[in-house]
């Protein structure tokens, strides 16, 4: 029986495994991705490299000097200080960019307060040297009743009223697209360096369609605007099922196809997300996430920044992910996939 090594489960709790058990976990994570997403596996060297990262017992680990990457973000403000102060703090501690956000983090909520958000953006641009972008989510569900104007497709679908549910999603997507374009143009007028469309596809294919259309329109209207397109999950749910964008059916697309669509729409940074399974180790989850995202690195024409916030791409599903786990996820993505940022 081998020496027990401390590692983490997907919920962040510590667990002990032998080196052989860790290797088996990694191999099974890769196999799970291959089976689910029908992709090639990581090669033997990549599996061995991942094992070395996770078998290490140091609390902190990191990339080699010179291999550092830039870090994008989704929101740089909090409740404890003014939003402008939060952005300044983000610059002071060494962020590569920061993001102005409204607390609801929903473009539907933002549209009611656009002028004040513009003024904050303008003020932030005068105070900060690092790039300042504006971010929120399409958040399509908010356009359905009782919160929004459209019929609620989550109520219609269980009743078998499929056509009405689809029509409601199409209506919501159209409203969402208009809001995102209007806010993006307003932020550009206020001096923003970029827009972040975060957690895209969270409400399914109609949600993703709204973002792609908004990105395309903003790219045409504001050629120098940075546009980050971050995803909600590893594949786009077919809540509608029949929606297409430029001939591609959106339901069920995986990260490599999501990236192709984001590029075609005009995004400048793409952020894939891979779901977590808290019943497996972090090593298993990272192996699975790397396998799913790896094909992106060969077709990327724009930077790829995998989402490595809490609860995606191998990051433990806990409000305070353990330092040892975060550092290993960080290092694994950079050293094995050579991502362009996180």
């Amino acid at each position: 029986m081998g020496t027990k090594l401390m590692t983490r489960m997907g919920d962040g709790t510590s667990v002990e495994m032998t080196r052989d058990e860790l290797r088996t976990d990694i191999e099974e994570g890769v196999a799970a991705a291959v089976k689910r997403a029908k992709l090639p596996p990581l090669d033997d060297d990549e599996v061995a490299h991942l094992l070395e990262i996770f078998a290490s017992q140091e609390r902190m680990t990191g990339v080699k000097v010179g291999d550092e990457v830039v870090l994008s973000c989704d929101g740089s403000t909090s409740l404890r200080a003014s939003r402008l102060d939060c952005l300044t703090d983000a610059e002071d501690v060494g962020n590569d960019l920061c993001e102005l956000q409204q607390q609801d983090y929903s473009y539907k909520a933002v549209k009611t307060v656009v002028p004040s958000e513009q003024r904050l953006m303008q003020e932030a641009q005068y105070r900060l040297t690092i790039p300042v972008q504006y971010g929120a989510q399409a958040d399509l569900g908010r356009y359905s009743k009782p919160d929004g104007p459209c019929p609620n497709w989550s109520e219609l679908l269980p009743l078998g009223r499929i056509d009405e549910a689809r029509a409601a999603q199409e209506e919501a997507a159209s409203e969402s697209e208009e809001d995102m374009v209007r806010i993006g143009e307003a932020m550009w007028e206020a001096g923003a360096d970029g827009m972040d469309f975060d957690t895209s596809g969270a409400a399914g294919d109609a949600d993703f369609l709204a973002v792609l259309k908004a990105v395309r329109r903003l790219r045409e209207a504001c050629p120098d605007l940075s546009i980050e397109l971050g995803m909600a999950s590893e594949f786009v749910l077919g809540m509608h099922g029949e929606l297409e964008w430029e001939g591609v059916r959106l339901a069920g697309v995986w990260p490599v196809e999501q990236l192709r669509l984001a590029q075609r729409a005009g995004a400048t940074i793409f952020g894939p997300a891979v779901n977590m399974n808290t019943g497996h180790s972090v090593a298993w989850n990272v192996a699975r996430a790397l396998t799913i995202i790896k094909p992106c690195m060969d077709v990327a024409e724009i930077p790829v920044h995998p989402n490595v916030g809490m609860g995606v791409c191998g990051m433990p599903m806990h409000p305070f992910p353990p330092i040892d786990a975060v550092a290993r996820v960080s290092r694994a993505f950079i050293e094995i996939l050579r991502v362009d940022g996180l």
Binding site: L71, C73, G94, Q122, I323, S330
Partner: protein, 128 residues
């Protein structure tokens, strides 16, 4: 997207693998990714060439503090007596736009709103 979300997560990523913004040249590399869509290797090479340093130097806080001061592209200043003579954010961004040959939205709008500045600044032009 990126490295945010939970409290403290971002700090660990910064320590494990981040360029660390204005401590080094992280903000400059990020600008090339954001505005030009350059991938990491290309963006680092571009910025290193413009600054006349090696790619490894871009992540070296000691080297970059001198380089940032030389080019007037902004440094982090914590104490009041460190701030004397350092360019403000907008001044630094004028210099960054010039150095990287990169349109910066707020800089172009500033130049538009202050015509005397815009006329004197050779990169001033129509905001697209």
């Amino acid at each position: 997207m990126g490295s945010g979300d939970a409290l403290g997560v971002r700090m660990v990523h910064m320590l494990a693998s981040g360029m660390n913004g204005m401590r080094t040249a992280g903000d400059l590399v990020m600008r090339m990714q954001m505005t030009r869509g350059m991938r990491l290797r290309e963006a680092k090479a571009y910025v290193a060439d413009k600054l006349g340093v090696s790619v490894r130097d871009l992540s070296d806080g000691v080297v970059m503090q001198d380089v940032r001061s030389e080019f007037g592209i902004g440094r982090l200043t914590e104490l009041e007596n460190e701030c004397v003579g350092e360019p403000t954010a907008m001044e630094a961004k004028f210099n960054i736009a010039e150095l990287l040959d990169l349109p910066i939205n707020c800089v172009q709008r500033f130049a538009e709103r202050v015509p005397s500045v815009g006329a004197a600044w050779k990169r001033g032009g129509e905001v697209t």
